[in-house]
């Protein structure tokens, strides 16, 4: 991994796959280099890097 990374997770609400997809789409629009998936981690966090 190079650059900046973020692991996003909701502690207030266990998000659904569709909500995850919306967040992932928003993250993708910013030009990520790395962006993992709904099934990448058992805790469903979204890993992104720029």
């Amino acid at each position: 991994m190079h650059g900046n990374a973020a692991d996003m997770y909701s502690y207030a609400h266990p998000w659904t796959e569709d909500e995850f997809d919306l967040l992932r789409t928003a993250a993708a629009s910013t030009g990520t280099t790395e962006l993992l998936s709904w099934d990448s981690y058992l805790d469903r966090h979204l890993h992104a890097a720029w």
């Binding site: 997809d21 919306l22 993708a28 910013t30 030009g31 890097a49």
Partner: protein, 280 residues
């Protein structure tokens, strides 16, 4: 297993020595070191291809990443690329299990594929196009990396969309890569492939989708392609975004996102995500 990993690391450490470290006039020694490096890389390639230990595989890939790309032998490059192909299959199976309600194990190194993608993109070898196509669901590095190959990557991208029509990350990543290629190499794409690409895009826009990522990527590609049919369909979805989504998934947030993206494009703003070239 542990002793092998240590010996492997020693081998990799040895082959990471720059040849310039050898003293002037020591041509015979330089040749000897080069042969030893190639032999060591061959051993590493074999180990990478055969080990079933995720931890060892990840360590091997980490160590390969410390070597100058130009010093990595064709055998080791091929092994890295093949490992990415295998990891794509593992991830694909895991995604299918997850989407059909089956259990997914916790013994999975999701970030190994990111390291492999970085290496395969750096190789810049067309032999890795299919491996990168299978990894477009991992983010912009893979998507931009495959787009760097231009029109020759189009068949592989069409193939991954046709093979896995429901994985939102794979489909949206492949649509983004196709858009980049249309932006830069529009005239080089053979007519039959362009037609197939348009048909796959229209398919996503004409039938309600569960995932906003797929709808948005299809709309961005459609407007970049510019064919009248695709453009008029996107404008129809701007006016009636509920048509874009399957019942229960197209809430107002997704509809607003789609409408705002389409309006931005029609105002002349660039498609997102923006293109980033991986190689000069």
């Amino acid at each position: 297993m542990i002793s092998f990993s240590r010996s492997t690391q020693l081998l990799l450490f040895a082959m990471s020595f720059p040849l310039s470290a050898v003293g002037a006039g020591a041509q015979a020694d330089t040749s000897s070191i080069r042969r030893r490096m190639e032999s060591n890389q061959q051993l590493v390639a074999q180990r990478l291809s055969t080990t079933s230990d995720d931890v060892e595989r990840s360590r091997l890939v980490d160590q390969i990443g410390t070597i100058r790309v130009a010093a990595i032998t064709p055998i080791l490059r091929a092994s890295v690329t093949e490992t990415l192909r295998r990891e794509n299959v593992v991830q694909g199976d895991r995604s299918r299990r997850a989407r059909t309600g089956q259990a997914i194990g916790d013994q999975f190194d999701a970030e190994l594929r990111l390291k492999l993608v970085e290496l395969v993109v750096a190789f810049g070898d067309p032999a890795g196009i299919d491996a990168l196509a299978g990894a477009v669901g991992t983010g912009g590095r893979a998507v931009n990396g495959i787009a760097d190959f231009g029109a020759q990557a189009v068949p592989a991208l069409i193939a991954v969309i046709e093979a896995d029509r429901t994985n939102p990350d794979v489909v949206s990543g492949a649509l983004d890569a196709l858009r980049y290629i249309v932006e830069e190499h529009r005239e080089e794409i053979p007519a039959d492939q362009r037609q197939r690409m348009r048909a796959l895009t229209m398919e996503r826009l004409n039938s309600p989708q569960r995932y906003v990522s797929i709808v948005v990527a299809a709309a961005e590609l459609a407007l970049t392609d510019g064919s009248p049919d695709l453009r008029s369909r996107v404008i129809a979805l701007r006016d009636r975004p509920t048509q874009a989504f399957t019942t229960g998934t197209g809430d107002t947030v997704r509809q607003d996102w789609l409408r705002q993206r389409i309006e931005a494009r029609l105002r002349g703003e660039p498609a997102l995500p923006l293109r980033k070239r991986s190689r000069a």
